[in-house]
């Protein structure tokens, strides 16, 4: 395995939303094949963080690099899976057309999708086991299947980083497990960052967890062994879980 490469690097990053600080002095390093879950309350800066990684927002202070470059320049190497709720389920579009959309950054304005583009889209759909649904209208699929299609769209451009915004929202636990299985497979080839306000959605599959509420507190992978010792966590959460469901408890923020 090659030397770990930094996919995303935040150095003392500050960002503001309407003169309110949305992010305060964020330091973050995401390496190749990391699987990071960022949790935090709504309004805690998750969206701002994602926008900065995608180069849609410039931080007020600090330095951000994605794949060693300015985020804008690396955007084509980031696969993005948006929150489910933003599209019209009745829109006349099939799975195939949705997937092709992911290739825009490589195809470019005015151009038609090439044969090579179509092959990539086909491969991406195959990887998420959705190729047989290619001619189905997007709204006819189940929530989990739709999520898979949106993951395929993100994968079509061969990203080095996969960003998922609330991926487990309104997906039942069985399907969540399947999706995590899929992400775990994808992790062999890329870094994955998952953002959620719902702590229960961040499963044991996620290697590292960071809590974001203006400031970022990072919980490394080794913490799992400490979990029984640590009885408190600082993120204001209310978690109910049955004993049989694997769960973890994070260290107190210092």
């Amino acid at each position: 395995m090659s030397v770990e490469k930094e996919v995303v690097k935040f150095e003392n990053v500050w960002a503001y939303y309407n003169s309110h600080p949305a992010l305060q002095d964020i330091n973050l390093a995401i390496h190749d094949r990391d699987f990071l879950g960022i949790i935090g309350p709504n309004g805690g800066g998750k969206t701002t963080l994602l926008k900065i990684i995608l180069g849609l927002l410039k931080p007020r202070r600090g330095k951000v690099t994605v794949l060693g470059k300015d985020p804008c320049e690396s955007r084509s190497q980031i696969g993005y899976v948006p929150q489910k709720s933003f599209f019209d389920k009745n829109f006349p579009i099939d799975v195939w057309q949705v997937t092709l959309m992911g290739l825009y950054s490589q195809t470019g304005l005015f151009r038609r999708y090439s044969c090579e583009d179509k092959k990539k889209a086909e491969e991406a759909l195959d990887r998420v086991s959705m190729l047989k649904y290619r001619n189905r209208q997007i709204g006819e699929l189940s929530g989990g299947q739709q999520k898979r299609v949106f993951i395929a769209r993100a994968l079509a451009s061969d990203p080095k980083l996969l960003l998922l915004d609330e991926p487990m929202e309104s997906v039942d636990p069985k399907v969540q497990g399947e999706l995590y299985g899929l992400l775990k497979e994808l992790q062999q080839e890329m870094a994955i960052v998952l953002v959620s306000h719902d702590v229960t959605a961040v499963s044991i599959y996620v290697d590292e967890i960071a809590c974001l509420n203006q400031t970022l507190v990072y919980h490394g992978p080794k913490e799992i062994s400490d979990e029984v010792l640590e009885g408190t966590y600082q993120c204001p959460i209310h978690l109910i879980a049955h004993g049989t469901i694997p769960h973890r408890v994070l260290k107190e923020h210092q």
């Binding site: 019209d88 950054s105 038609r112």
Partner: protein, 276 residues
């Protein structure tokens, strides 16, 4: 029975209807899918202000309407995106402003007073040859732009947030779409009137939507349905001596309602509704 095709004005009316159907069918597919019927209605009524100014200044009213239509399209697109004003509020304001300005300028114009009613419902029976050419040019323009920006229009209509994230100039593409809608409306106003433009943009496309989930097929079917509506409507208006534009609309609505009812009946009997 088909002696009506012997009249030159009827030939022109049919041809105008057919050419208008091409533009309205293609653009209507986007208007219905992206749910911007009301924005289109707003642009249509706002461009009436341009017609009034055109008359007042003594220039071709279509020219005035074009300027006004394009400006209001861009204004609507930008204010709804860049300010916190709700979209329907902006539409309402521009809608009313355009109509009011149109009425004022027409009343200020000395001598020849235009019939406002003819702009609401148009007069497809008095389409001159030059106007046919104008619609043909519009059809070609729409076809070219849609062919060039097909995947962009599709992406922006379906999922604007994602389109922005992957680096598409989303706002410019959306404004281009609104400008195409404005051009379609403006060219059609003289021919079929403000109300019929809205009807031809919405009814054929929403009917076509019942049969397909594919954007290209949706466009083709919309053009076909639009042509059927105008053709049938024109025949009926001739035979029963009714206002042509209004008859076309009512024809479309009746066919639309019938198709929906039949499909409902079939699906309640357990027959699957197959889409193309």
């Amino acid at each position: 029975m088909f002696d009506i095709f012997g009249y030159h004005f009827m030939q022109n009316a049919m041809l105008a209807g057919l050419l208008a159907s091409i533009a309205c069918g293609i653009i209507g597919a986007y208007v219905v899918s992206k749910k911007i019927v009301f924005i289109s209605g707003g642009i249509a009524h706002a461009s009436f202000g341009g017609i009034g100014i055109g008359y007042f200044l003594g220039i071709n009213p279509v020219l005035g309407a074009t300027g006004f239509g394009l400006i209001s399209a861009i204004a609507m697109g930008l204010t709804t995106r860049r300010t916190k004003l709700p979209e329907d509020t902006v539409i309402g304001i521009l809608w009313a402003t355009g109509m009011a300005l149109g009425a004022i300028f027409i009343s200020l114009t000395p001598g020849y007073t235009t019939n406002l009613f003819s702009y609401l419902f148009g007069n497809i029976l008095t389409v001159p040859d030059s106007e046919l050419l104008l619609i043909l040019v519009l059809d070609i323009l729409i076809f070219a732009v849609v062919a060039l920006l097909y995947k962009e229009f599709l992406a922006v209509s379906f999922d604007e947030e994602y389109s922005t994230v992957i680096g598409m100039p989303t706002e410019k593409i959306y404004l281009t779409m609104l400008c195409l809608i404005a051009l379609t409306i403006v060219v059609m106003i003289r021919v079929v009137g403000i109300i019929l433009v809205i009807a031809l943009l919405t009814i054929p496309a929403s009917l076509a939507r019942q049969f397909t989930n594919d954007m290209k097929k949706l466009m083709a079917l919309s053009v076909l349905f639009s042509a059927i509506f105008t053709f049938t409507g024109l025949m009926l208006s001739y035979w029963f001596d009714l206002a042509s534009g209004a008859t076309i609309i009512v024809t479309g609505v009746v066919i639309f309602a019938l198709v929906i009812a039949i499909r409902k009946l079939l699906s309640s009997r357990g027959l699957p509704s197959q889409k193309m």
